[in-house]
Amino acid sequence: MDKKVAIVGIGTTGFRATTPDVSYRELTYEAATKAYLDAGIEPQEVGAFVATSEDFLEGYSISDEYSPDQLGAVLKSIHTVPGDFIQGLGNGVMLIMSGYADIVVVQGMSKASNMVTKGDLLTFAADPFAWRPLQESPHAIAAMEMNRFLYESGNTIEQCAQVVVKNRRNALLNPRAALGAALELEDVLNADPVAEPLCRLDIAQHADGAVVCVLASQEKVGSLKGNPIWVRDVSWATETNALDSRTWGEAVYMQLAAEKAYRMAGIRTPAKEIDFAELNDEYSYKELQHIEALGLCAWGESGKLSEIGWSERTGEFPVNTAGGCLGCGHLFELDGGQKVLDAVLQLRGQAGELQLKTANTAVAAGWRGVPTTTGAVVVLGN
């Protein structure tokens, strides 16, 4: 990138299974307050805002009109990206690189506990001709993808279960995580089947929370306090919504997004040049599939590497150090926000008990969940 952009502030509510004491707007307000304090700015200094949301997730039509005030964005430029937080981050980066603003704020929020009929919501994301009339669980799509991924890559169900054990244990040490737990492999393998081979514990449970991130141009960074984390590049890609023409085994969307982000960031051998990854693990197999799509190991090797502790916090290449979706919670479009948050804290050396010894370059990657084939990737460095 010819103009440099840094994350100069980040704030979060942390993630909880329910948040009955606050409205969804107050969740964002709390995260925004912390982000502005972290960056040492007032919202009046912000040139533009980017919110990420979906009408049906929030339960409002035209929900983007409800996003300014809780960010301090009234009478300012704001637009909503109906996509993952990292896609919103990419929009923020573009606003700075184009010279539109020097300071840009990116917001993401999940109030999953407000949504009583989540199954209906996901079913309404399905094609009304080819899929919806069958009224099968949306998890069936993930289960079929998992089956094909395991079949083609040679990874195993046990190796997927190992991901669950690791991420929920990591979350035990994360004060912001909703779902920390000390599980054994057998606990995961013996859990109730949902859509085989997916069982209950392979699927991330929903959580509430918000993340707000302050971006600044290189020129502005000097006049701000704190510890800038540089956005080395950001990219995203979508394959197809069509079940009949999508790739079932590999996460091609994530591979394309990663290749572009690495190319622009000048990264040639990601496993060597990157120290750790925070990536989407909404289903256990997704961590393995995304590790391979991000080029962090060879095709079909992620499972074996996970078994020998490669992706543990103490391993050669830590993945989801703070618990990922399985440990923090499934946050819908905030998925990438949790990933960016934990990458930033590691890169700043502020990850507490989770802190890695070496954390200079990170990759964060979000997926928009079933039935999408959209992935977003950002490379961050300190």
Binding site: V22, E30, L198
Partner: protein, 158 residues
């Protein structure tokens, strides 16, 4: 400023229930009309051919997603035979309730096409199903067919 005080008692949490009572009709479009009418009236399948890309879309479309050419009318007959590309057995309904009878669901690649179909498998036990299993569609009788995906009862092993 952040939140100074927080709610202490959960029963004090005020909420307002809301529903989104919206109804839609989705038009099948030109390719959908051709596909579903053929299925309803003659119990046969068609796909759409893009010669430039050497791709056969199934179900058919009026444009190629690769070269973006218009391929409307390039319909080709597609045999009622395919193989299981991937599969699962669902123990829960779409709204997370346990199913009395689990359903076997598969993505089936149709012979001589680059597409396929998501549907249920029947007349078979899950234990006997596998990736690569040849299957065929079992259709409802003509009098019960309405021009939709449910005109197919399920797929069964060949």
């Amino acid at each position: 400023m952040a939140l100074i005080e927080r709610l202490q008692n959960r029963p004090d949490a005020t909420y307002w229930p809301g529903k989104i009572p919206m109804t839609y009709i989705y038009t099948a479009g030109r390719a959908g009309e051709a596909f579903f009418k053929k299925l309803r009236d003659s119990g046969k399948f068609i796909g759409a051919r893009c010669e430039d890309c050497d791709l056969t879309y199934f179900p058919p479309r009026i444009f190629c997603e690769c070269c973006f050419n218009r391929i409307e009318g390039n319909w080709v007959n597609v045999k009622n035979r395919g193989v299981v590309h991937t599969l699962t057995i669902c123990h829960e309904t779409y709204d997370d309730k346990p199913k009395e009878t689990p359903s076997i669901v598969a993505f089936i690649r149709f012979e001589d096409t680059d597409g396929g179909m998501f549907h249920r498998l029947g007349d078979v036990d899950y234990e006997d199903c596998y990736i690569g299993m040849p299957v065929e569609a079992v259709l409802k009788p003509k009098t019960q067919r309405k021009g939709g995906i449910l005109d197919i009862k399920h797929f069964r092993p060949l």
